[in-house]
């Protein structure tokens, strides 16, 4: 390996990128755009669930109960209705996701201490939101009930009692339970994987298509020199992207970075090396820019998005799929990023993920070198 040749290839590749505004835009602007787009759009938090209310009792007690819903950050009362037909219309049109019905004898039953049936109808077409909304509704109702019960007991027995178990949950790492805090780190991993593979997927194929490769392979340049030289500029750009993404996470999305920034960039470098090599390998094998870019997209985007644990917990997947996720490099990087970002842990805990990421990178780099032939067929 001659450094002179590696740098010659790297320099040439840099010139290609900087003289082609489209490739520069793809390298810098698109990852940022994706981060903004997904960062804002991809929120798994359920709040302000719009509900319609039918208060058939219309007493101070029922109004007090309803006010617990309107006061909660999780619900917004969009409409008061009088009848199932109207409520149904609200849900059909999507104006409301749930419908609360207070029975006529609400305050009467409440004063006797008996159980009051309150109906809560939820739009189940989005089952995830429906489940969460039901949980919120349960909590609101339970809190209200407990207070009413305690008041009742105090009035009757003259003393207050407490419940047998008083659970005090406390959330670590993400106390506000904001989904962006774990989505943004995962998103950085997914976007880097896709962009890195896309960038390099064109580089070797372009030379074959333009006919410049025939000239190049007639020279004594060695395969590894060519691959490393082509790799370097994209690596620099990729690391710059990571840097921008981390800055955006910090200042735009306010995701706390609790761990070591140095470790974060070190791991990003290893991940990037593997992701860039995937694109390079695809480019070498296909020799066609169109095919290579499409293949790079398919091979990286879906697995990274679905199987990395970025959005869907790997532990909840069926066993065979869980095994498959081990082949998705983004899986390790997502785990690393979440660990460093939210838990602030270091290599002493993350060494397995870090090691596997390195193994992945090495395997792909070797494969790319083996697959590159300085011959026409």
């Amino acid at each position: 390996m001659k450094p002179m040749r590696i740098f010659a290839v790297a320099r040439k590749e840099f010139l290609h990128i900087f003289r082609d505004p489209r490739s520069l835009a793809m390298a810098i602007a698109i990852p940022m755009l994706l981060l903004v787009l997904f960062g804002y759009a991809l929120t798994l938090d359920v709040d302000d669930v719009p509900i319609a209310v039918w208060d058939r009792d219309a007493t101070p007690a029922s109004r007090d109960f309803i006010s617990r819903f309107s006061a909660s950050p999780y619900f917004t009362i969009v409409r008061h209705v009088d009848g199932y037909e109207k409520a149904r219309h609200c849900i059909d049109s999507g104006e409301a996701l749930a419908f609360l019905v207070i029975p006529e004898d609400f305050s009467e039953t409440a004063s006797t201490g008996q159980e009051i049936p309150v109906q809560f109808i939820v739009d189940g077409s989005d089952s995830n939101t429906a489940t969460i909304a039901m949980g919120y509704a349960d909590t609101v109702a339970a809190t209200w009930s407990r207070r009413v019960m305690m008041e009742l007991e105090q009035r009757l027995a003259g003393k207050s009692s407490s419940l047998p178990v008083d659970m005090r949950p406390r959330v670590w790492f993400n106390p506000d339970m904001e989904s962006k805090n774990y989505i943004i780190p995962g998103l950085i991993a997914v976007i880097m994987m896709v962009i890195a593979a896309l960038l390099t997927s064109l580089t070797v194929a372009r030379e074959w298509e333009r006919g410049t490769m025939e000239q190049l392979i007639s020279t004594p340049v060695k395969g590894p020199e060519l691959i490393l030289g082509k790799f370097l500029p994209y690596f620099v750009i990729g690391m710059f992207d990571v840097f921008l993404a981390v800055l955006m996470g910090e200042y735009m999305f306010h995701v706390p970075l609790r761990g070591s920034a140095a470790l974060l960039f070190f791991m990003a470098a290893i991940f990037l090396a593997g992701a860039l090599s995937v694109g390079m390998l695809i480019s070498i094998v296909t020799k066609s820019q169109l095919l290579a870019s499409q293949l790079a997209m398919v091979v990286t985007f879906l697995p990274s998005f679905l199987l990395s644990g970025f959005m869907y917990a790997i532990a909840n997947m069926p066993r065979p799929i869980q095994v498959m996720t081990h082949l998705v490099p983004a899986r390790y990087f997502v785990a690393l990023l979440k660990g460093i970002y939210l838990k602030g842990i270091g290599l002493e805990i993350l060494f397995v993920e870090a090691g596997l990421l390195a193994v992945f990178g090495i395997v792909v780099v070797l494969l790319a070198n083996v697959k590159f032939k300085k011959k026409l067929v």
Partner: protein
């Protein structure tokens, strides 16, 4: 005893059922300019690729600069310069950047490199265009840049695959002037061309057709390979004259060369008079018929014609 610059033996390469190069055996000496001549699809480019070690043959072997093109491919590549038929440089890089890139790739020492590049640029009249992007050069200038890049490391053997294809006549002449200068510097040149006037300028030529070498030797020797003599007929309506002569002289080969008709015959003395007689009788005005030296084109058409006939 010095080894030849290029020596191939029974070199063959097929693509599926098509034999692109079929049992090619030739040898080129140091300091020689060898022309590989043939029509499109004759196998010239494949031959180039086999000899430059960028493609492996199915069978046979070749040595370039004394190195085997398969087992010592890298050693071959260090000693040769190659210019592919398709423009192989980077259009978005300037003339200078392309030169610098190939200088680095070939490991040309930094010391003395600037002077070398300057010399190559002035040699190919590219000095005023140093900063121009290669993609914006004219066809002729592109070819000269390709040549300059292929010469950056002072190769022993230079392979040029149809370097003047699609280049205007003035640039072609210019290009050949440069090649002759290179010969003075003892560079061996292996050039392929479909232009016969260029073939005439080579020390030796090989006529290639359908993957096989049909003739090999100096242009003079190759011309002598032609049986019979040529009578050139100048007639007012050459196309019609050709048809008439073809019918009247079944033993002779009759072909149209520009506005003249060439009649290949074993009995030139009789033919001269006979063609005039036949054409006059048919009412075609003849301004002359004379015996001429065969050109390479005649040989080419004759060789390919015979071969084509045999294959059909």
């Amino acid at each position: 005893m010095m080894q030849p610059a290029i020596a191939s033996e029974n070199l063959s390469k097929s693509f599926g059922p098509v034999a692109a190069v079929d049992g090619l055996t030739l040898s080129v000496d140091h300091g020689e300019i060898f022309g590989l001549v043939g029509p499109d699809g004759a196998g010239k480019t494949t031959t180039m690729r086999l000899l430059t070690s960028i493609m492996d043959p199915d069978s046979g072997q070749a040595r370039v600069c004394g190195r085997d093109t398969v087992s010592e491919a890298e050693a071959v590549k260090e000693r040769i310069g190659y210019m592919s038929q398709r423009f192989g440089l980077y259009p978005d890089l300037s003339v200078m950047e392309n030169m610098e890139f190939y200088a680095d790739i070939y490991g040309v020492p930094r010391k003395g490199r600037a002077e070398k590049i300057e010399r190559l640029l002035s040699f190919s009249n590219l000095t005023p265009f140093k900063k121009r992007h290669a993609g914006n050069l004219s066809g002729g200038m592109k070819q000269k840049l390709g040549l300059a890049c292929a010469l950056i490391h002072t190769p022993e053997v230079l392979f040029l695959d149809e370097p003047t294809n699609g280049v205007d006549p003035a640039s072609r002449r210019d290009f050949w002037r440069i090649l002759y200068q290179l010969l003075k510097e003892k560079v061996t040149i292996f050039v392929s061309t479909a232009y016969l006037d260029e073939a005439e300028r080579c020390n030796r030529i090989g006529l290639m057709h359908e993957g096989r070498l049909m003739a090999l030797g100096t242009p003079g020797q190759v011309k002598k390979l032609m049986r019979g003599s040529i009578v050139e007929v100048r007639a007012a309506r050459p196309r019609q004259a050709k048809e008439i002569l073809k019918k009247s002289l079944p033993d002779a080969e009759v072909g149209l060369f520009g506005d003249r008709v060439h009649v290949v015959t074993d009995t030139p003395e009789n033919t001269e008079a006979e063609t005039i007689r036949i054409l006059s009788k048919a009412g075609v005005e003849v301004s002359g018929a004379r015996l001429i030296e065969p050109s390479l084109e005649d040989v080419f058409v004759s060789v390919l014609g015979k071969d084509g006939g045999r294959r059909e």
